[in-house]
Symmetry: C2
Subunit: 311 residues, 2 copies
């Protein structure tokens, strides 16, 4: 029987592991084996330079995740490179199913993150993080985008926000919107439409990403006329949403309409007592490495307090 099982191995999971160890909870972490199609360590492993994690002026995404893992191991956390298939939170101890194994735990921290949706167009793989990104707030300030033409795909609030964010860095920003209207709030649409650096292309879809070492152009199509054209783009930002990695929970904790785990604001408590959630799996607003790490720490402290109350 474990005191604490941590599911997920991004910044939230590893911050939880460090604090859980310090609270003598001897955590067991399932870091996943290409869970949700991403390597252990999560979304940061798909990033090249991280310049906004306090306090590394610049560090590679994979290198940062290696440091996290190393510190968790140094702390005594046990890490298994396996993916959790399902859970049973209906009775305590909780059950965590991993292949043929069943692990029991007094408490669980879910920090399985979210995965940015991709388009799957030709060139996407090649130019991922070489011009293509799913997070303008994370990557927008990189030098390669300064005074360069930028393309943002999407028509929701996040797409508008990313487009507005990129007007601070790019020479101009083109938004590709599939329909003749946006899902974004009226206020956000107004801000985008009133910004002289932003051009909205309606009925327009991405077809291909092109370039040499880095992205140079995108091919687009008008989905009414089927007319294709090329536009210059040193940056291509996907803002078509994220998928929170909560399918394995089978609705045993309360989720919001988009599938994110609901937590009591200001805490990491879920709808199930003894189950805590940290990181992007419960946050579609901030979604940064350091905010995830902060909630990971909170989850470990919340778990420690809760376990203490059960004694």
């Amino acid at each position: 029987m474990e005191k604490l099982i941590i599911i997920g191995s991004g910044p939230a999971g590893h911050a939880a592991a460090i604090y859980a160890w310090r609270a003598d909870l001897k955590p067991l972490m399932f870091e996943g084996f290409y869970a949700a199609g991403v390597a252990a360590g999560g979304q940061l492993t798909t990033t090249t330079d991280v310049e906004n994690y306090p306090w590394y002026v610049s560090i590679g995404g994979i290198e940062l995740m290696e440091k996290m893992r190393e510190q968790s191991l140094h702390c005594g956390a046990r890490i298994e490179t396996k993916t959790v298939d399902k859970v049973d939170f209906s009775t305590r101890p909780f059950k965590v199913f991993v292949g043929d194994e069943v692990h029991e735990a007094q408490s669980v921290i879910v920090s399985t993150g979210a995965t940015a949706k991709r388009m799957g167009v030709p060139g996407e793989e090649k130019f991922w993080q070489k011009g293509i990104s799913a997070c303008a707030v994370c990557d927008g300030a990189l030098p390669i985008f300064r005074d360069q033409p930028i393309v943002v795909v999407g028509g929701g609030d996040v797409a508008c926000e990313e487009a507005l964010h990129m007007t601070k860095f790019g020479s101009r920003v083109t938004m590709l919107v599939r329909r003749d209207e946006m899902r974004a709030s009226k206020a956000m649409q107004e801000r985008v439409k009133n910004n002289q650096k932003i051009t909205i292309m309606w009925h327009t879809e991405l077809v291909e990403a092109l370039g040499e070492d880095t992205l140079q152009q995108v091919k687009i199509v008008n989905n009414q006329t089927q007319e294709e054209s090329m536009i210059e783009a040193k940056g291509l930002f996907y803002a078509i949403g994220h998928t929170p990695n909560t399918a394995f929970l089978e609705n045993q904790v309360e989720l919001d309409a988009s599938g994110y785990i609901k937590t009591q604001p200001g805490t990491t408590k879920t709808s199930v007592e003894g189950v805590f959630a940290a990181g992007d799996v419960q946050d579609h607003v901030y979604r940064q490495a350091v905010t995830s790490a902060g909630t990971g720490c909170m989850a470990a402290l919340d778990a420690e307090r809760w376990l203490g109350e059960q004694e």
Copy 2:
């Protein structure tokens, strides 16, 4: 006119500076000049080894704060080593008063932290962080406390929590309680009283901290009989509360009963639109470097969004 002024220079302030720079808000930070009696950088500068900041396996408190400052400067933040005396949030732009200077800002992040209360007994200065600490969650797992006698001063919930936390590491824990009752909740009192590793000494006050290179003993007094005695203590934890550094705000943002800034849970928004709060100045629950940094990041993103809405 500044877009953003950041008041305070702990993890929250510097994380805010990094993210604010990346949002092109060109932040101006007042890091303070021994504000609230603590050096710029805040409470971490009074700590020796930090082993729970992700992802440094071990780093000195002062060294960590130097790295924070370095990254903020690298990002282009302007840092002034001056203490903010007062603010005027009644009209926009907000005014920030620093000696004879008045600075105007469209938005403000308050991250002035909190200061642990001290007893002021002989030996306290000498053994601070050499056995004496104000945070068991931060320092309790250090090797010097393993299987050693521990003393905790205080009778509130935090004192009980610190005592219980230290039972995981120390050989025994003695709580010094000034009166014949505790302020702590019934449930916490029960947990402390039922823990065989904890001894509660009622009507007892700390008189002096003694030792050689590190703390070895504390002198205590029974405040009814005036009888003094010595007890072994390799660790001495103060849990007599913190003072949030909010006096200079003169109640212009809503505070809770203990003087902490109230924020909308899950955000850093204060009662004044355009004024955001991050770090320990608004958090008396988690109070860790990484949770502070997380809320600092949130504050910068909240400020960016809010400023965008005002355009």
